[in-house]
Each structure stands twice: as structure tokens, then as C-alpha cells.
């Protein structure tokens, strides 16, 4: 089977036995430089993505993190050239994929690449699968269009793909419709479609947000494993920091249309340099640390992109903002491979020292313990919890 993944897995097996492919060396498969995307609306122009640049290498998983409306999905759709043509304008920027400039291709050339070399997995598997076509037909479609397979070849490949993504009894599944599958199964089918033509790049936009925790773990393990084995570059868009920490090699943090921090996962989580990333990490309750009295929060809410604040976009919510933040901060390399768009990135750790020291201490402690249990009493801070008098004597009534 010349198009089969048998060849690809064969190649991957030799890699899988050794160390995982070295990161960030060699040519990136995707490079985005200074991308600007605007939406023209009746209320004015929304600058949804401003000056975004990043690169993705084969076999690595890059995460894009940010709140809703920060431009993370829009930037991915711009790479796929799937933005709504009536309102969206790619003002400037270069998207280089495998040596070709995607923004300069005509529609037909782009159609050749989309679904074959680059594929995308969307958040909602129910709405992104066609409800009136069988699973089999939907998996075979890209194979018939892009790979010029015969029906028999495509069917064999579809069965192979369903097996690959862990669906049992694939042959009978081909005749089923999306509504006959569970949410997790549907997302596996989406991944199978995404992988059908052996893509070099897979863009997953919130691939597990609609799924339960245990199913989420199954799907992400599968994606990570496939990325390693088949050397596929994966861009994962999510707001779940736990997923990023567990699966991503490199992290891009976006805030209000701009990139504010980029680095290897250990760098961004271990030593966040931008006040927004620091705030975000402090704001999530964590299972591996003691309960805190109060969650640290970032005051205010993200700006309206119709009328964003001048200079640093995070300035109105930032605890460390100074006069000079009125100018747009440059995106600079603070330590090797670790960039941030904050003029105080160098001193941020010292400025934010108090709570940070506590965090590091507990983290060391949990690491020393091998992190076998999720919390331990000695880590638990005294917790303010006022119960009315006599509540503990309340009778257990519902037997």
C-alpha cells in the first residue's frame, strides 16, 4: 500500500526506539512572520491579529494559549486561508509552509494543500462532521480527491485510519452516521480525517474542549503519540493550561491580538516573564498544590479590540505598569529561546517575588515527593471557612 501509513509508521518506529526527534533544529515546517488580520465590521475595524510571528518544526507540538477573542483561532484560520472572505482582511504578513508562501497562492493551489499537507481539527465534532454522510464517506473524501485512490484503496485506508485512532470494529463503523457515535468517537473520526493524507501539519483548535476529562486525556495522548511517530507538526489552540503543560513542547501566549510571550513549555511555566502569563498561571486553582485562601485574579477584563488601549494592551490590568508602557513594548528575547513583550520582563521576577517564592517552595516539595498524591495536609494553607453554629450537628436526613 503505497499511500498507507505502513511506510510512515515504519519510519517512525526507527525514531520511536531512539530518542524523540530533536526539537527546534533544522528547518521549520511552518513560519509565520508579522501577520496582521483585520475584520471590517459595521462598528469599525477589529484588529484581530497584530504582528504575530512564530515557527513550528516537524514532530513538535506548539500551543497557542489565550482568552477567547485574543486572536488564537483567527491566526490558525489565516494559515488555512479559511477566514470569512466578506469581512476578514489579511493586511500583511508571510505564512511560509514547507517552502511555499501560502498567502500568495491562488484558491486552487490552496485547495491542493488544504486537507492534504495541512489539516485542521475543530472544537465541536458534532457540527464539523456532515450529519447526512456516513463516517466512511467522510474519511474517504480527502483520499479520493487528493490521493487519486480508487474506492477500494480508499476504503482500505479508511479502515487502517480508524484502527490507528483506536476505534474498534472499524469496518462496520464506516457505514455509520455521526449521530451514532459518542463525542469522543466523533473526535477520533475527525482526527482520522485530519490524518488521512499524511499531513505535515495538523492544526487542532480546542480539540478536546467539548469532551470529558478521561476522554480528553485519551484523545490528547493519541495526538501526541501520532505526532511523535509520524513526525507531524501539531499546533494546538487551547485555553487549558494543564493541557499545554502536559503536551506542548513550545508555548505562544496571546493577549488582545498580540503575542506577549513565547518559549519552551518549561520556560513559560517555570519562569513566566510577562505579567499576563504570570497572572494566568496564578489564577488557575491547581490540584498539585495546597488550597489557597483566595485565587489570585487579574482585575478587569480583556480590552475591546474595536478600541484597544494605547501602547501595551495589558497596561490597564497590569500591576507593574509604569509610564513607559504607553509605548508598544518590543518583543524581545530575555533568555535563550524565551521571548516576551514587556519592558519590565527582566525585573519581573524580583518585582513579583513574594507569592512566587511560596510557589517555588511547594513545587520543589511536591517534586521531591515524586508527586504521588495530589495534595498533602502540610501544604494546605489555613483556609478561611465560616460555618454557622451547629451546622455539624445537622441531622443527616436523606437516607
Amino acid at each position: 500500500m503505497q499511500h498507507g501509513i505502513a511506510a510512515a509508521t515504519g519510519l517512525a518506529q526507527s525514531q520511536a526506539t531512539g530518542t524523540p526527534p530533536a526539537k527546534a533544529i533544522g528547518q521549520p515546517i511552518l513560519e509565520i512572520e508579522d501577520l496582521h488580520v483585520h475584520f471590517v465590521t459595521s462598528h469599525g475595524t477589529v484588529r484581530a491579529v497584530e504582528g504575530l510571528s512564530y515557527a513550528v518544526h516537524p514532530g513538535e507540538m506548539v500551543a497557542i494559549v489565550g482568552e477567547s477573542g485574543s486572536g488564537k483561532s483567527v491566526s490558525a484560520l489565516a494559515v488555512m486561508r479559511l477566514l470569512p472572505p466578506n469581512t476578514a482582511r489579511i493586511r500583511s504578513g508571510v505564512v511560509r509552509f514547507d517552502g511555499r508562501e501560502l498567502l500568495k497562492l491562488d484558491d486552487e493551489e490552496m485547495r491542493q494543500i488544504r486537507g492534504r499537507d495541512v489539516s485542521m481539527i475543530f472544537q465541536e465534532p458534532m457540527t464539523s462532521l456532515n450529519p447526512v454522510l456516513t463516517i466512511g464517506l467522510q474519511i474517504m473524501e480527502p483520499l479520493l480527491i487528493h490521493m487519486n485512490m480508487t474506492d477500494a484503496q480508499a476504503k482500505a485506508r479508511a479502515i487502517e485510519l480508524l484502527t490507528l485512532v483506536g476505534i474498534t470494529d472499524p469496518e462496520s463503523r464506516l457505514a455509520q452516521y455521526p449521530h451514532q457515535l459518542s463525542g469522543g468517537m466523533r473526535q477520533r473520526v475527525m482526527i482520522a480525517i485530519g490524518l488521512a493524507c499524511n499531513p505535515k501539519l495538523l492544526i487542532a483548535d480546542e480539540p478536546t474542549t467539548a469532551l470529558d476529562v478521561t476522554i480528553q486525556a485519551q484523545i490528547l495522548e493519541l495526538m501526541k503519540d501520532l505526532s511523535r511517530r509520524l513526525n507531524i507538526a501539531v499546533i494546538i489552540i487551547t485555553h487549558n493550561l494543564g493541557i499545554v503543560a502536559r503536551y506542548a513542547d513550545r508555548v505562544n501566549v496571546m493577549y488582545a491580538a498580540r503575542l506577549v510571550e513565547r518559549g519552551m513549555a518549561e520556560q513559560v511555566f517555570g519562569r513566566p516573564l510577562h505579567p499576563y502569563s504570570r497572572g494566568l498561571l496564578a489564577a488557575v486553582p491547581r490540584l498539585d498544590q495546597g488550597r489557597t485562601n483566595k485565587l489570585a485574579t487579574i482585575d478587569g477584563s480583556p480590552p475591546n479590540l474595536l478600541n484597544p488601549p494605547e501602547g501595551c494592551r495589558f497596561r490597564p490590568r497590569c500591576r507593574f505598569a509604569v509610564e513607559a508602557c504607553i509605548n508598544v513594548p518590543p518583543f524581545v528575547e530575555v533568555e535563550p529561546g524565551h521571548h516576551a513583550a514587556c519592558i519590565r520582563a527582566h525585573e519581573i521576577e524580583a518585582l513579583d517575588a513574594g507569592p512566587r517564592r511560596y510557589l517555588r517552595r511547594t513545587r520543589l516539595r511536591s517534586r521531591r515527593r515524586g508527586y504521588s498524591r495530589y495534595s498533602s495536609r502540610e501544604q494546605v494553607l489555613p483556609r478561611r471557612r465560616r460555618l454557622p453554629e451547629g451546622c455539624l450537628q445537622a441531622r443527616a436526613r436523606s437516607q
Binding site: E67, S68, S182, G183, M185, D212, V213, T214, I215, Q216, A217, Q218, E221, L241, I243, V244, A245, R246, A265, E266, F269, G270, G279, L280, L281, A283, V284, P285, R286, L287, D288, R291, T292, L295, A296, T297, I298, D299, S301, P302, R363, S366, R367, G370, Y371, R373, Y374, S375, S376, R377, V380, R384, R386, L387, P388, C391, L392, A394, R397, S398
Partner: protein, 295 residues
Amino acid sequence: MRAVNDVSLTVRPGETLGLVGESGCGKSTLGRLVLRLEDPTAGEIIFEEVDLAPLSRKQMTDVRKKMQVIFQDPYSSLNPRMTVGQIIGEPIGVHGIMPKANINARVAELLQLVGLFPYMALRYPHELSGGQRQRVGIARALAVEPRVIVCDEAVSALDVSIQGQVINLLEDLQQKLGLTYLFIAHDLAVVRHISTRVAVMYLGRIVELASADDLFADPKHPYTRALLAAAPVPDPVVERTRPRTIITGELPSPLNPPAGCVFHPRCPLATEECKQAVPATRELAPGHWAACIHA
């Protein structure tokens, strides 16, 4: 279909009882049963010494003054054609709590209580952000001065930085007003943070119940352990050393639940015995209950 099966649970005054589980496990149904938005087939719902199950609609109206709900989706749970003031004022009028003339002042007070501004009473929901809308939902629930609030995935749809603000607000309000929460959510870290005690549900049954600290420090039921193992922690260094024990399979259909322990088809500890009978809920440590024969 048995959405909620043989569940017994007590919520103590002033506490937050967390209810976790995957979608379809019956946690929202349980919340709706407590509010009598759904009628139980059998069983009692005792609130302040009164069984709610046989009450008529009219009798329930009085009870609802003391029990309110905050829904997950701040976009669809507010009427887009009503102003924020009308939304918050409506329950006050419906229950005839105070003369109409005083309602506006009360709405302004409630808006301030949830961290919004009185002038926002004239706005429509579409003019507010997601976090602000959820605060309006909270203000509406507080309008009738309830004793119990069912929070059904109340923070799940919010962005991380806003989620923290709303959680803190819920905790502050609990302290100020002595509220009791039934907090339904699927995010384990959030549930641990806010809850006094936590109940874990699987396929319509409660499989484990303990204080929040005990449950997360020493989970007894294999399903609780699986849930905790599957929840990623935002720290790559910790993540790399964590064992990857991921349970296989999916939630069975509640139309046709497995015999015996409902978790046995996915359970790593399952034995022949587990298929025979539904395991009894046992108290394994003071206040720590689990329904597993191997726990």
C-alpha cells in the same frame, strides 16, 4: 432511563458541596431534582424539614424563594430583550418581596454586591462581557435572598482570568450572606478549591464522598483516581514525572447500564465479584465514603 439512581446526599447549612463527574453522569439532573425542575420517580428531597417531592407547583414557588440556581451559559440564561435591571428585578416582583417602588434601589444594591455598577441596570445583556453576564446571573439568584444556591457549571464557560474573579465572588458572598452551595462542575481543581465536601458521580450513582482535602489527598474509588490522573496540572516539570494511567473506554449508555458495579467495564481493579452486585457505600475513614469493594 435511570439518570440518577439510588443517590443519598446531605448538604449541610453554610457548606459548599461539590458535585463532579463526566457529562451524562447525572450531576445536572441531581441539581434540577433538588430544585424540583425535574420530578423524582422515587425518593425524598428534604429541605428544612419538608419533603419537596410531593409539593404542588404553588407550594414550590414559596420554596424557590429559598433556593436559587446559577446556570452555566451566561449567554443563553439571560433574556436578551430585558435590561439587566428588569432581569434582576423580576424575581423580586414575582415573589412580592417588596413594594415595586423599592425594587430599583434593591437592584442597584445587588449590582454593587456582585461587583457591578448601578448604572448597568439600564444595559442589555449583549452589552456585557461573559464575566459581567455571569455576575448578573448571580445577582438575579441573590435577589430573593435564598439560603441555597445550585451552581450548575457556573464558571465553566468563563475564561481563566474571569473564572477566578467569579469564584472569589461566590466565596465572598457565601461568607457575607451565609449561603449554602451545591456546586456542580467538571473541573476538579475548581471544585477542590471551592468545596467543603465533594461527591463524585458516575453513571447516575455517587461513587465517593468525602471532605475536599481527604478526597483529593487520598482518593479511594478507582474512578476518582482515574479522574485525578486524567486532569493535567499546569506545570511541565511535574507533568513529566507523573505516571500516565489513562482509563480506556467510554461512559456506558445510562439506558443500558452494566450489571453490578457500573464502573467495572473500565475499572483496572475489576474482578468477577464486581459484576455480580452493586457495591454498598462504605465509610472507609471518618466522613469518607466510597462504593467499591476493593477500596
